[in-house]
């Protein structure tokens, strides 16, 4: 009994000191935040009077250093989020812990958690002394798991150890430990007077540790070229690749969350329309930023305010938009000028001249996504800025990319003469993300597939057969990493056997056609032989063949 008592007191002490540590850390953070606040105040940005604007976040939160992450971190957070008592959540979600446990490296970033493991180790040893037959398992209760900003790499080894010992389970013991721990933890948390006063040098040491940790973490995060992620691929999930249409349909099924609140937000923004008009007329241009698609908002602005005036709508997210096309539509459709220009700069000069000569000309320009791939270049921005600096051209644009303001230097900013408006709408970027190159892998395959089928459908039956042959051969060899492609001679042989071609020349003619549609690629090997390849990934090719089979 005495022994137990002793151990327990030891435990409480260690817990207490640890809690102390935590507080120290958070004190430092508070200090940092305070310093930031000072700078912020110096800039005249005090959060107190900002309404509806999310500008009360300190810069350190937005732009922070990268810290090393462990592969299972995400799954862990996911289960944590799933666990947090959301009002109508099913209380027990037994799969989640299993899921996290699946990943090889036991997650142990939080100091507290690893510390808990340590404590458990103590208890475990103690219990071993008591009853040697019984084995004990340490599954960390989720309630106790606490997240902490600074991970401690030194404690890593322990955690792995603890993970290794979790094999069997003894209900009674675990319960006991849990209650013991929770009993210990609450008094420690409330920070009684009995805690020994923190030694100063300890705090200092921690701070130093923290500093050196930060440095080490920085290099750890940036030096290693290797990133640890799991090797699972979407293919193994056997997930059907969604094309644009099905995606769209599926999303239609999912109701838009918080529609009422979003509508309210939009109404707030819409009340600004007349102010925008006023400011546009006074020589400012307007740029909208904030999360969520601003397309509908601008569209509404257009329909409600600009019906009686000439205006130009530019869909910046459109993948083939160029400045040239914008300038062209101004010269050709607004100014009714027929004729080509040697360079965009000439064209711009012409436009500027026309607008300066004729003061009755007025043009509203709406640009959705001024920061899109095609328009973000220096030259395009320069031209657009010069356009917008014209007195009788009124520009209203939206930006979404986090680094969009970097496009503009002081000179361009002064040409644009922006007034910034935060219009967070939370509405989904439906149009903006609907173009192929703005999407992730899932879509690129589907589009390639549809283009494959489209092209092939317009070809003769023989040509399709030829392509099938090649595709099949390529699939047969898909496990061969050094597969160079099918050599022309072999291919010719196969095609002849299948009665698809009768001469070398017809095959070549056919291949030229494929090549023109970018269906195949030829490559000369080291021996000078021509090899043929289909530059599409295997899964798409499989899908394609399946589809072809259905059709036939």
């Amino acid at each position: 009994g005495v022994k137990v008592r002793k151990d327990k007191t030891q435990l409480t002490v260690s817990v207490k000191t640890f809690v102390k540590k935590l507080e120290n850390v958070s004190d430092d953070e508070a200090q940092e935040i305070l310093e930031e606040k000072k700078y912020v105040a110096a800039l005249g940005i005090c959060a107190q009077d900002s309404m509806g604007n999310g500008s009360n976040v300190s810069g350190g939160e937005v732009y922070s250093f990268q810290t090393p992450k462990h592969s299972s971190k995400m799954a862990e957070l996911a289960s944590e989020l799933a666990q947090t008592p959301g009002q109508s959540v099913a209380p027990d979600h037994s799969e989640c812990p299993e899921k996290t446990a699946k990943t090889p490296q036991s997650s142990s970033k939080a100091i507290l958690k690893t510390y808990m493991f340590l404590l458990l180790m103590h208890v475990w040893v103690f219990l071993l002394l008591q009853s040697k037959k019984k084995e004990f398992v340490s599954t960390t209760p989720y309630r106790l798991r606490k997240r902490l900003a600074a991970p401690d790499p030194y404690l890593e080894s322990e955690s792995e150890y603890s993970a290794s010992c979790s094999e069997e389970e003894d209900e009674d013991n675990q319960k006991e430990v849990n209650t013991a721990l929770s009993g210990r933890k609450t008094p420690a948390k409330t920070k009684t007077a009995s805690t020994p006063p923190p030694r100063n040098n300890l705090a200092k040491k921690i701070k130093e540790n923290k500093m050196s940790n930060l440095v080490e973490e920085y290099f750890e995060a940036h030096s290693s070229s290797k990133v640890l992620t799991s090797d699972r691929t979407l293919q193994k999930l056997r997930k059907r690749r969604l094309d644009q249409q099905t995606l769209h349909d599926l999303l239609k099924k999912a109701p838009l969350a918080y529609a009422a609140e979003i509508k309210e937000l939009n109404q707030q923004h819409e009340s600004l329309f007349s102010k925008w008009m006023l400011q546009l007329h006074l020589g400012f241009n307007i740029v909208l930023y904030g999360l969520g698609s601003k397309r509908d908002l601008l569209e509404k602005f257009r329909t409600s305010m600009l019906q009686d005036s000439v205006h130009l709508v530019v869909n910046g997210y459109f993948p083939s938009i160029t400045v040239r096309s914008i300038l062209n539509s101004i010269t050709e459709e607004v100014l009714d000028h027929i004729g080509a220009f040697r360079s965009p700069i000439d064209q711009l000069e012409f436009i500027i001249k026309r607008f300066k000569e004729d003061s009755s000309l007025e043009l509203y320009v709406l640009i959705h996504n001024l920061d899109s791939q095609m328009l973000r270049g220096e030259r395009s921005q320069q031209i657009l800025a010069q356009l917008s600096s014209l007195r009788s051209i009124y520009l209203i644009a939206s930006i979404d990319h986090i680094n969009a303001p970097l496009m503009w230097d002081q000179a361009k900013l002064s040409l644009y003469n922006w007034l910034w408006y935060e219009t967070t709408t939370f509405s989904p970027y439906v149009e903006e993300t609907s173009y192929e190159n703005s999407l992730l892998v899932q879509q690129s395959g589907s589009l390639a597939l549809s283009s494959l089928t489209h092209v092939l459908r317009s070809l003769t039956l023989n040509a399709r057969g030829i392509f099938r042959l090649l595709a099949q051969y390529q699939l047969e060899n898909k496990d061969n990493a050094s597969y160079p492609g099918l050599s022309f001679q072999d291919f010719y042989q196969q095609c002849r056997e299948a009665f698809l071609v009768n001469s070398d020349l017809t095959l070549r003619a056919q291949l030229t056609e494929f090549r023109d549609h970018k269906l195949i690629r030829t490559k000369r090997g080291a021996d000078g032989v021509e090899y043929l390849l289909i530059p599409v990934d295997d899964s798409t090719l499989t899908d394609f063949l399946e589809k072809e089979d259905e059709d036939v």
Partner: protein
């Protein structure tokens, strides 16, 4: 991607009335037009004033430049034959114009510079910008285009075929340029000598050709070098002068150009006024004068100044901010119709509608005023419009007088504080102005310490300061300062008397000094200590008494006249105080807004389900927030499968009952689609990008962020 919409021609109104947009927000639309007109006229006045200031400030610089240009080719003008022999070196006269980092202001400077030059020196000016001149060919083309055009401008009566010779037909070379120059100067010489004399006598016979490089730093080295080398070959036939606009430091010329090229230039340095001084003048003329009825509140001014000091040093942007303030004030404050010259304001008060009277009654400062009145007066103020109008007129007048006095006393105080060591109240008058607007300045520590310091000023300083103050008060328009001036003059005469008295005593002091000279270090220390002791115990000298009196008098002035504006009744009419608007629109932080939206959607979507404490977000947040939160936990690469799984775990847990579906590895199609949408939205926002390093991985583009 581009769509032009044209209204049907009959529907097109001649001009969209800007006024219409002005007051649509408010229900009291009666005054909007008047308000708008007032706003416009006020703004135009301010704009004119700023332009005038700019012109005045640049005058010195331009005069120097003009005289430099005249000098540079005086030999060429004289057409002396030996000139070519004399000028063995082929140096091009060059003016290096250091303009400072505020690039945005340069445009205006160059525009007025070219105007000045056009009027005084030469019609042949070309303004080149780096962005138009990626190669020497483009540069020449641009140069010739500008020169030929201005030639046409000079005498438009010339035969048309000259105009027809467009740039692309002429071969762009130096020789053709020289030919053109010769023909032009000859023409003006021979053909129409009489006419030319009269019309453009201010130009020389063969005026120099001025080429201005607006942003010298951004030109490619090669282009500059080539141009300088080529034109130095022809400097004898072609009086060329270069002007370099420099934003950084004159050293840049030498780092851009190798010695062999820079030796072809004969550089003279010109320094423009620093933008800080420019700003001080602007503030002085716009804010600290009673010409303009519109005033800026303390916070607003602080924001504008901070944007200037921390971001761009651009006076142009400051003025833009000022414009925004004006517009915003007139837009949001219905009572701003009274924000005009006092005479007009009084007239307008009489024609105020009942609604507007109610607006006035609602003003916090006016309520305070009412509460301080006797009860029968209170009732009259709150019920009778006509009485109210009378009172308003009086109050407006008070406010006007307050401003007049405020400015003079502020300047006077600034005379004192600007010479104190360490400048406890700031060096610039704008800092003092801010401090006075913020709260009662005499209650601040800084003011206390500056008074302490002022009590230690020596006499000569004090006298000069007093003289300056007298000048300020004499020239001020305030009517109450006659007494003050008298008082100050009295102080001055007293100082003068002291001086006379002091000179008489001077003899005795000198003897004491002699005595001190003989003592050694030890004794000196001793006597000094004694002196100190005696001073502490001794009564104040006459001078010290007087000095105390002066400082106290100034202190009295300050307490009397430098009351913060928001203590004044009806200050809302002329002061613009909503700094948040200004900051939102001028100094926005788009990334922070995104951050807030993603991390704390409750900030925008006021739904209780989203409310959560601390840093974590609830699992009911919009999809993109969840995906974002999950991706923060990853390193540089993110496995899409893991991400998808984590995402679906979270989403499923919210949806609840059909927990069985989650057990299978297959994820619901709808959730899959939602995930895809969230991920592609994150890609659009620039948080991730597709990566080819590993299959089904995306790369993270931001650091940290949680």
């Amino acid at each position: 991607g581009c769509f032009v919409f044209k209204p049907s021609p009959k529907k097109r109104r001649v001009s969209q009335k800007t006024v219409n947009h002005f007051g649509e927000r408010k229900d009291d639309s009666e005054d909007t037009e008047l308000r708008f007109v007032t706003c416009q006229s006020l703004w135009n006045e301010i704009k004119l004033e700023t332009e005038q200031i700019q012109e005045d400030l640049n005058k010195q610089l331009f005069d120097n430049l003009v005289s430099f240009l005249r000098r540079s080719h005086s030999e060429f003008q004289e057409k002396t034959t030996e000139w070519t022999c004399q000028m063995k070196s082929r140096e091009i006269p060059t003016a290096a114009l250091v303009l400072g980092v505020n690039v945005t202001d340069h445009d205006l400077t160059f525009r007025s510079l070219s105007e000045v030059l056009q009027n005084n020196i030469t019609p042949y000016i070309a303004l080149l910008e780096a962005k138009d001149c990626p190669g020497i060919k483009n540069l020449m083309q641009k140069l010739m285009g500008q020169l030929m055009n201005c030639y046409i401008d000079v005498d438009s009566l010339e035969d048309e075929d000259c105009v027809q010779v467009s740039q692309n037909r002429i071969r762009c070379s130096m020789s053709s340029l020289i030919n053109w120059y010769e023909s032009v100067t000859k023409k003006t010489d021979s053909e129409t000598p009489r006419k030319k004399r009269t019309s453009s006598s201010r130009h020389w016979q063969s005026p120099p050709v001025v080429v201005i490089f607006k942003d010298m730093e951004s030109f490619t080295t090669k282009v500059l070098q080539d141009f300088i080398v080529i034109s130095s070959q022809h400097i004898r036939e072609f009086p060329l002068v270069l002007i370099f606009g420099i934003a950084t430091s004159p050293m840049i010329i030498h780092s851009l150009l190798p010695h062999s090229v820079s030796s072809l230039l004969c550089i003279e340095l010109f320094q423009s006024l620093s933008s800080k001084e420019h700003l001080s003048t602007i503030i002085d003329k716009l804010l600290l004068s009673d010409r303009f009825p519109f005033k800026l509140g303390e916070k607003v001014l602080q924001v504008l100044i901070n944007i200037f000091l921390y971001h761009d040093f651009s006076v142009q942007n400051f003025i833009k901010g000022f414009q925004l303030c004006v517009v915003e004030h007139f837009y949001s404050q219905p009572l701003s119709i009274l924000c005009c010259q006092l005479v007009d304001a009084k007239k307008r008060v009489n024609s105020l509608s009942h609604n507007q009277c109610e607006n006035i009654r609602r003003l916090p400062s006016f309520r305070r005023y009412v509460e301080s009145q006797a009860s029968e007066k209170q009732i009259a103020l709150l019920t009778t419009d006509s009485y109210l109008k009378e009172i308003i007129q009086k109050l407006l007048e008070d406010l006007h007088v307050y401003h007049e006095n405020y400015v003079s006393v502020l300047r006077c105080l600034h005379v004192f504080t600007s010479s104190l060591p360490k400048y406890p109240l700031g060096k610039q008058i704008r800092e003092l102005h801010c401090a006075c607007l913020e709260n009662q300045v005499w209650e601040t520590e800084e003011y206390e310490s500056s008074l302490q310091l002022a009590r230690m000023l020596n006499k000569s300083d004090l006298v000069t300061m007093l003289q300056q103050c007298v000048e300020i008060f004499v020239s001020s328009s305030g009517k109450e300062f006659d007494k003050t001036v008298e008082k100050l003059k009295e102080f001055l005469t007293q100082f003068q008397k002291l001086e006379d008295a002091f000179q008489e005593r001077d003899v005795s002091v000198s003897s004491q000094k002699e005595l001190q000279k003989k003592t050694d270090l030890y004794h000196l220390q001793k006597t000094l200590l004694e002196l100190k002791e005696s001073r502490r115990s001794k009564k104040l000298t006459k001078f010290e008494m007087l000095r105390f009196e002066v400082v106290d008098y100034i202190d009295g002035l300050v307490r009397n006249y430098l009351v913060p504006a928001d203590h004044k009744t009806l200050h809302e009419i002329v002061y613009f105080n909503t700094a948040s608007v200004l900051r939102e629109h001028l100094n926005a932080a788009p990334r922070t807004a995104l951050h807030t939206a993603l991390n704390n959607p409750y900030w925008y979507l006021k739904n209780q389900a989203l409310k959560s404490d601390g840093g974590s977000i609830s699992n009911k947040a919009p999809d993109i927030c969840i995906a974002y939160k999950l991706h923060l936990e990853c390193g540089r690469l993110i496995n899409l499968v893991d991400w998808l799984e984590a995402f679906s775990t979270v989403v499923m847990s919210v949806e609840g009952p059909n927990g069985d579906a989650a057990s299978s590895d297959q994820v619901d199609d709808v959730i899959h689609a939602r995930f895809i949408r969230a991920v592609s939205e994150l890609e659009l926002l620039g948080f991730i990008k597709p990566s080819k390093q590993k299959t089904d991985h995306v790369a993270r583009l931001t650091w940290g962020g949680c």
